[in-house]
Amino acid sequence: MQTILEPWAPNLVTFWDEFIKSIIETIQMFSLSGIISFVLGLLLGVIFVITKPNGITPNRLINTTIDVFVNVFRSIPFIILIAFMIPVTRMIAGTSIGVKGAIFPLVLGCVPFFTRQIDLALSSIDPGLIEAAKAMGVSNLGIIFRIYLPESIPAIARSTTITAISLLGLTAMGGAVGAGGIGSFVLRYGYQRYYNDIMIVCILLILFFVLIIQLIGDIVIEKTTH
């Protein structure tokens, strides 16, 4: 591999180990923070939707709290958010640096966004379906798990795709706490050092990740749209 690449991407070959390491770091950051953000964002999004004034269990307090949480955390520039959160990160993850230290800030940067996306996705459900479930005596939990979520899978898949790609973008900031990753790698070598081969390969690699995410999203959408 390296020898094949040598003539085309000499710099990449020079920093090959770091390159491989950065891929692993990106995958670690992305998958861990992605899974956590997905669960939390879905949870918050659903709670947000159902506690709206015309939701199935209106609750002004909870609804406003989520709204404020989302807005506040979307307001803080991510790099500042990372710095702000260091003590909390250390409490939660045991360390504030490296991949481990990046997960919590990434989650914090991703969840508010995903929450909004879920709001967008769930808001497109026909209210008649909620009504039908109510009429059948389905509990609120049942409405969430048996109507809201299954009926909006295509929309949630779209939201998740968008969010996942945004999260991939965020992981590029993982470098701020020494978590490395392709984003940081390409910043340090491709961008700051003008190693064009590294720049191009890394961007193609990120594009490849993006395409995979997109592909998975499209497949889910296709399979679940009837």
Partner: protein, 243 residues
Amino acid sequence: QDTVDVKIGLTGSDSKVWNYIKEEAAKEGINLELLYFDSYPLPNRALAEKEIDINAFQHHIYLEKEIEEFDYDITVIGETVFAPLAFYSEKITDLSEVKDGDIVAIPDDTTNGGRALKLLETHGFIEIDPAAELTPTINDITNYLVDIEIIELAATNIPATLPDVTFAAVNSGVASNAGFTVDQALEIEEATAGENPYINVIVVRTEDKDNEVYNRLVELYQTDEVKEIIAEESNGTSVPAWE
């Protein structure tokens, strides 16, 4: 043979040097883990809070400012390189051509920005409030001797935006990465080795000041082999700061 783990916080991309040192250290049973931070304020904090053991990314001024601000108990155990700031231009060949209304680009980070302002002062474009010491901001400019417009932007973007400004202050690392050579520079920061506040340093927590392993790393850095790597990497824009 027992190995000892050391975490070092770095920034930017002088990794060739550190990769070399890492290899060398490994031979002596020192397992060096390189952690690259993409932002300046964190490595000192991580060091102070014992997340890492050692860092090497800053110069004296920056370190002093940080210590002053946060009371970090950290200290210098060795010097690395001096990376002088220089003025470059695509429009003029001499600073004397600068006239009123011209634009100068300077880095937007605290230390390099301050350095650039100092350099502008040195060359008689502006006057700076002495109270600002070594890290002035645009705000500390008390007088414009030439009516230039100062614009701050990311250091790494300065070479690319050179056509849009009259001249610009460029970090040596950035300049060498962009393919600029020392002789293209209009002016270069004076390099007075030994006492220059802009010399980069290796820092540890004060309690570890005498740690053998860390000091060994300094020794590994201050070798001729490293000197060679630096010369090759920086086209001569960085100068080793040890004899």
